[in-house]
C-alpha cells in the first residue's frame, strides 16, 4: 500500500498546479470575471451610493468590504460549473484510475480557486482605493481581512464542489449555484443596513454568514473593534468546511457505484 502523507501533499500540489494552469492558459476566464466585478463595483457605488443612508460613512467605504465577500460568493458558483465540466469528460476516469490521493482532485480545485479569489480581491481593493476606499488602520488589518475572505471563499467553494459533483452537468450547476448565492449576498448587511429591512428578513440577515463576514471586514477597514463578528465568521467558516468537505469527498468516492 503506497499511502503516504507526502504523496497526498504532492498529489494536491500537482492538481492545484493543473487547475491554476487552466486560468493561465485561458486568461479570459479570469479577465472577464474581473471586468464583471469592476463594472458591478462602479455601478453599485455610483447608482446606489447617493440613495442609501449609511450613517455618515462614504458608501464605497461602507459596501466595498462586503463586495469583496460577494466576489468569493459568486466565484464559488464557477467552481460548481468547473467540477461538473471535469466530471463530464473522460479525464475524471483517468484520475480515478491512478494511485493518487482520492482527495487531491477536489482539493486541488479548491486551492486553485483560492488563488483566483486572492487575485480578484487584491484587484477589487485597488479599484476601490481609486474611488475612495481606505483601509484606515494600516497593513495588518488588510492582510487579516483578505485572509478571512479567502478562507470564506474556500469554505463556500466546498459547497460549490458539492453542488457540482451532485448535479454532474454544467448548465444545472450554473443555475443551482445562483439559487443559494443571491439571498446570501443581498439579504445581509452588505449593501444596506439590516435595520432598514422588514423584520422577518432581519432574522435571516442576522443568521446569514455573509453578515458577520461583512461586519468583520468593515470593522477592520475602519479601524474599529471586530467584536463578536470575528468569532461568528470563523465559526461559520469552520462549520461549512466541516460539513461540506466530507460530503463532497464522499460524493466523489461514491462515483464508483
Amino acid at each position: 500500500m503506497s499511502f503516504k502523507i507526502s504523496n497526498t501533499i504532492s498529489d494536491i500540489i500537482v492538481m492545484t498546479r493543473r487547475d491554476i494552469l487552466r486560468y493561465v492558459r485561458l486568461p479570459q476566464l479570469l479577465v472577464f470575471n474581473a471586468m464583471l466585478n469592476i463594472v458591478l463595483l462602479l455601478l453599485f457605488n455610483y447608482v446606489f451610493g447617493g440613495a442609501i443612508n449609511t450613517g455618515g460613512i462614504k458608501y464605497v467605504q461602507y459596501f466595498l468590504p462586503g463586495f469583496l465577500a460577494q466576489t468569493v460568493v459568486f466565484g464559488s458558483t464557477q467552481t460548481s460549473v468547473g467540477i461538473a465540466e471535469d466530471l463530464s469528460k473522460g479525464l475524471i476516469d483517468r484520475f480515478r484510475s491512478l494511485p493518487m490521493a482520492r482527495s487531491a482532485f477536489l482539493t486541488g480545485r479548491v486551492l486553485a480557486d483560492a488563488v483566483r479569489y486572492a487575485i480578484l480581491i487584491v484587484l477589487m481593493i485597488i479599484v476601490g482605493s481609486a474611488i475612495g476606499f481606505r483601509f484606515e488602520n494600516g497593513v495588518g488589518p488588510v492582510i487579516a481581512g483578505i485572509a478571512l475572505i479567502i478562507l470564506f471563499g474556500i469554505a463556500l467553494t466546498w459547497v460549490g464542489v458539492f453542488i457540482g459533483i451532485s448535479v454532474k452537468d454544467t448548465e444545472t450547476a450554473q443555475v443551482a449555484g445562483f439559487v443559494w448565492v443571491f439571498p446570501l449576498v443581498f439579504a445581509s448587511s452588505l449593501y444596506v443596513p439590516i435595520a432598514t429591512m422588514p423584520s422577518w428578513l432581519q432574522v435571516f440577515a442576522n443568521i446569514n454568514p455573509v453578515t458577520p463576514m461583512v461586519d468583520t471586514i468593515r470593522a477592520l477597514s475602519l479601524g474599529m473593534s471586530v467584536s463578536s463578528s470575528l468569532w461568528k465568521i470563523l465559526a461559520w467558516e469552520a462549520a461549512i468546511i466541516l460539513v461540506f468537505l466530507p460530503l463532497a469527498l464522499r460524493r466523489y468516492r461514491l462515483l464508483t457505484q
Binding site: S2, L21, L98, M100, T256
Partner: protein
C-alpha cells in the same frame, strides 16, 4: 505478424481474474456472472457488440465501478478492497482520450507520472522517451487543444505507459483511428506483451483481436460465451477451411454445384448471382480434384482458392448474429480494415 503473439512463458507479471461478476444498471443486467482469467504477459481481447458489457467489466477491473456481486483481482490485489494498490499497477486508456486540453502534451505526461509517484525527474525523462516513441516530439510543447484526434489518442496511450504499469487496460484503443495510426498502435501494443506486460483490450473489430491477442473472449449479453486462442476459436466454431471458386460463366453455377457434389464433400454451396461456389476442404488433393472435375465438365474457373475461417464466422456461429448488427450508430471501422 504472428511472431509478436508468441507467448512469453518466462513472464511472471501480474494476472487478471474475475469470478462471477454481476452488475445491474436499473433494469439492464450489464454483467451476468462473468468470469475470466488473463495470464501474465499475454494480450487478452474482449470481443463483443456494443452493449454486451465490455466497458462495464473493464470499469470494474480498473476500480472505477463496483460490482454488485462477485470478486475480481488484479495481480494479488482485490479490486474492491485494495483498489489503491490495484491503481498503482494498472494503466487505463478509456474509450475517449482522457487528456487535459489546456496543458501541453509534455505537461500531461509529466502530470500523470507525478500522480503515479514515480518522481519528478523520472516523470520528465519518461515523458521525453514517450513523446519520441509516439512521434509527438514536435507537438510536445503545444497545447493538446491543437492536437488531431490521432495525436490525442497517441498521447492518451503514452499517458498510460508513463509509469510502466505491468497491466494495461485499453478500451477500444483504435476506434476512430486512420489505418496508419491503427497499425502503429498495434505495434506498440504487441511490444508491450513482448516486454511481459499484460494487456487487456476490448474491441469490436475481429481483425484487431485476431492480430493482437493470445486469447480472445467473446461476450454477449453480459457474459463470456466462448473463449480461446484465435486459432482455437476458428477451429471449434468457425467451420472448416473452404475451397472457393468463381466461374467465368455464372449461368453454369448450378451445374458446377452438381459436379462438385460428386466429390462427396459437405456444404457445397453455389451463388448464381456471383458465380461463386464453395465447399468444405479436406484431403490433400482437394484443389486438384476440384480443378480436374471442372475441367472435365468444361467449366472455366476465374478464381480458385482456400478460404480460412475468420473470427466473424466464429462470432456468427456462436451468437447467431454478426458484430455489426448490434453496433449500428457507432462510429464504424475504417473501410478496408473492417473485419470481413
Amino acid at each position: 505478424m504472428y511472431e509478436s503473439k508468441e507467448r512469453k512463458f518466462e513472464c511472471t507479471g501480474a494476472s487478471i481474474s474475475a469470478e462471477q461478476v454481476s452488475k445491474r444498471f436499473g433494469k439492464v443486467q450489464a454483467l451476468d456472472k462473468l468470469s475470466l482469467k488473463v495470464d501474465p504477459g499475454t494480450v487478452f481481447a474482449l470481443l463483443g457488440p456494443n452493449g454486451s458489457g465490455k466497458t462495464t467489466i473493464m470499469r470494474i477491473l480498473t476500480t472505477l465501478l463496483r460490482p454488485d456481486s462477485g470478486t475480481a483481482h488484479i495481480g494479488e490485489y482485490d479490486v474492491i478492497y485494495e483498489a489503491q494498490s490495484v491503481r498503482s499497477i494498472i494503466g487505463l486508456a478509456g474509450q475517449y482520450p482522457a487528456v487535459d486540453e489546456n496543458l501541453t502534451g509534455r505537461e500531461n505526461l509529466e502530470m500523470i507520472g507525478q500522480l503515479y509517484h514515480i518522481g519528478k525527474q523520472k516523470a520528465r525523462k519518461r515523458s521525453d522517451e514517450l513523446l519520441e516513441i509516439f512521434e509527438l516530439i514536435d507537438a510536445g510543447n503545444r497545447r493538446v487543444k491543437t492536437y488531431s484526434g490521432g495525436m490525442r489518442r497517441r498521447l492518451d496511450l503514452a499517458a498510460t505507459l508513463v509509469a510502466n504499469p505491468p497491466i494495461l487496460f485499453l478500451d477500444e484503443p483504435t476506434t476512430g483511428l486512420d489505418p496508419r495510426s491503427r497499425i502503429g498502435l498495434w505495434e506498440i501494443i504487441s511490444q508491450q506483451a513482448k516486454s511481459c506486460n499484460t494487456v487487456f483490450l476490448t474491441t469490436q473489430y475481429l481483425e484487431e483481436a485476431d492480430r493482437l491477442a493470445n486469447k480472445i473472449a467473446i461476450m454477449d449479453n453480459g457474459s463470456v460465451i466462448r473463449e480461446g486462442s484465435p486459432q482455437e476459436l476458428k477451429d471449434c466454431c468457425g467451420g472448416d477451411t473452404h475451397v472457393k471458386i468463381k466461374l467465368t460463366d455464372r449461368s453454369r453455377t448450378l451445374e458446377a454445384v452438381e459436379v462438385l457434389r460428386e466429390l462427396g464433400k459437405e456444404n457445397v454451396h453455389g451463388d448464381p448471382e456471383t458465380g461463386e461456389v464453395s465447399l468444405t476442404a479436406g484431403g490433400a488433393s482437394i484443389l486438384a480434384d476440384v480443378v480436374r472435375r471442372m475441367d472435365a465438365a468444361g467449366i472455366i474457373l476465374a478464381e480458385l482458392g482456400l478460404k480460412q475461417p475468420t473470427l466473424d464466422d466464429v462470432f456468427l456461429a456462436i451468437t447467431g448474429h454478426t458484430t455489426e448488427q448490434e453496433s449500428e450508430g457507432k462510429e464504424g471501422p475504417i473501410e478496408g480494415l473492417k473485419a470481413k
